[in-house]
């Protein structure tokens, strides 16, 4: 019941607003966009506040009981390893792997702390290059996922309520089988004897072009990256789009907005938070992915994840592996900060 109430308010406001200002002049359209976002915030804030108010009723021990375990978990398995990693990056690699001692038993061996891994990293453009390449792959994956997921999420959100759950289930169904098995399946699908390969090469042959290998290529890596991460884009978008009040679109239609205007002036701006969270959920895991390039990549598809993995296995150079991981973490945090700022600025302006 209360949900109805909170929903009514922004709708009524927007209706009034749209009545006064038609979605015609560009400046006004902009305003409507912000206004509509404002509506969503107003819609969600009371819900969030209600949640906060009810936790305040809990007495202190209960509060700790609720928040304590996840807090300790994060401290133990996120903060502590993070600190260990930072410390490791300032040390020398051990002769057989692991780390050289901080305090030497034999003064002739390497020991203590050093900046050499950072010097090694920054003295060589090749590592910056591999970062840039990984960012490009992550960006491409995110964009393709977005373009593919948006119509799907919209379709699910606009379907009758009954079939929505089934459709969402279908989206997450691939998770029922193991990640590696799904990647290996792509080896068969993209292999030179597969239908797809015959189709593509038949087409290329008709235009007199040389046949291509689909498997073991950057193309295969991108396909699998998109395939694996698509649900992470669909789900946040769907949860966002599903909450949109259909009355907003009716109002826009009443005011003479065509289908494109209804999408661009109403639906799209309202879905921005979904786009941001979906993009973050895709971009960050892709950045660290090493299994897909390992299995499906060709001879030139090393990404930063592969390089880090190799420092800990083949090269047994923990300090340099730690340095690379820290650089990756910094890069990821910078991205999240940027996304948050982009999202946040819209809120403040509203």
């Amino acid at each position: 019941m209360s949900e109805n109430h909170t929903r009514l308010t922004p709708t009524a406001r927007l209706n009034r607003w749209l009545k006064n200002v038609a979605c015609a002049a560009k400046a006004r359209r902009q305003a409507a966009k912000k206004r509509s976002l404002h509506g969503v915030n107003e819609h969600s804030e009371p819900v969030a506040n209600a949640g906060l108010a009810s936790t305040a009723v809990f007495r202190l021990p209960v509060k700790w009981l609720v928040s304590g375990p996840p807090f300790i978990f994060l401290l133990l398995f996120f903060a502590a390893p993070g600190i260990i990693m930072v410390l490791a990056s300032f040390r020398y690699p051990g002769e057989f792997g692991g780390l050289a001692p901080v305090i030497a038993t034999d003064p002739n061996t390497l020991h203590g702390f050093t900046l050499e891994t950072y010097r090694f990293f920054f003295s060589d453009l090749i590592y910056t290059e591999i970062f840039a390449k990984s960012f490009l792959v992550a960006l491409a994956t995110t964009l393709i996922c977005l373009v593919m997921a948006y119509p799907l999420a919209l379709l699910i959100a606009r379907s009758p309520k009954k079939s929505r759950n089934l459709m969402v289930l279908l989206v997450i169904l691939p998770f029922a089988s193991n990640f590696l098995i799904r990647i290996y399946a792509w080896m068969i699908l993209l292999g030179p004897q597969a239908v797809l390969s015959h189709l593509v090469n038949g087409l290329l042959g008709a235009f007199g072009m040389a046949p291509v290998h689909l498997l073991f290529s950057s193309f295969a890596v991108l396909v699998a990256m998109v395939y694996v991460h698509l649900p992470f884009m669909v789900l946040p978008l769907y949860t966002n789009l599903e909450k949109h009040d259909p009355a907003l679109l009716d109002a826009a239609r009443d005011l003479g907005a065509n289908a494109w205007q209804r999408f661009w002036c109403v639906t799209f701006p309202l879905s921005l938070p979904g786009i941001f969270s979906g993009s973050t959920l895709v971009f960050i895991p892709v950045l660290g992915m090493f299994a897909i390039p390992d299995i499906l990549g060709g001879t030139g598809d090393m990404l930063i994840g592969n390089l880090i993995k190799e420092q800990f296995l083949g090269t047994r150079d923990w300090p340099f592996g730690s340095t690379l991981s820290i650089m990756l973490t910094i890069a990821v945090l910078a991205c999240v900060w940027l996304a948050a700022r982009l999202g946040g600025r819209r809120k403040r302006h509203a």
């Binding site: 051990g94 792997g97 090749i126 292999g191 990549g297 420092q311 083949g314």
Partner: protein, 351 residues
Amino acid sequence: MRGLLLFLLLLAGNARAEGVLHIYNWNNYISEETVTRFEAQCACRVMQDYYSDNEEMLAKLAAGASGYDIIVPTGNAMESLIRQKALRPLDKSKLPNLRNINPAYLNTAFDPDNKYSVPYAYTITLIGYNVEKMRELGLPTDTWAVIFEPEYLKKVKGRITVLDSQRELMAAALKYLGYSANDTIEAHWKQARDLIIRAKPYWAAFNASSYIKELTIGDVWLVHGYSNDIFQANLDAQKAGRKFSIASSIPTQGAVLALDSMVLHKTGPRPDLAHRFINFMLDGKNSAELTNLIGSGNPNLDAMRYIKPEIAQNPAIFPDSQHQAKLEMLHDLDRNQRRILSRMWTEIKLR
């Protein structure tokens, strides 16, 4: 972290029944029947953990894994374990079957006098190929040139994979250039790197695992790979009724031999059982079972009479003395060399 792991292992240890032998071994590196027979003989249980490369095993031990009685590392990894003082010396009075081992595989540079290790099996890193395709294309199969020279490579473009291993690929390139597989002169490494970068556009992938399958189904015709993997690929191809066969050959320039040995880890709680197991595995019949299963090379002279004749007569598994003389075992690199090689490897992958 190490403390926590140890604690967890101890916890697991208390839950264990009496008489359990813990082996940390390669994937698919012992026959099921052999294990069952040993369990019956010693009235104990054999628990196995597996690794798929030495680095993985070393990394796990470096991170504090313990409680393994027996590990089966390759020479250079074993050397590293010996120098870390992580191994327990053998009591040879408990290993009468040691006399079965071919002296050619004893007293290696990694473990003089075999204080810590007993040879288990070996693999050779060589060239594997689709026999019919190579004949059809008229390509040689007894030289590394077929992997590195564009004049040959252009005939198999996109149908060839090389191992995704810095050391193995560099060793092949160094061998082709006429250097030792263990050469560490940077100028020679750079030559090898350039050779690899020149050949790379013709290769389909750096591949350490799925090339067996790719050979079997006929998508890949030529590989730089391990002898027992190629043996496996041929078995699979025959089983699937393919019209071609897969063979392997040791290039005339020489190749890398990886000798895996059984060693006792210091943290193993049951050295007595471990010695019994090693002596059991040194028995010709038990040792031959592994070779018959996976086509691994066998350093056990007594095993030869139990090995299937088609394997015993395969020159890529049991090479003649001329080829044998050109096989080299890889030595461990020091930390600076490892970092330099990794830097080169990144360049190879990125170019």
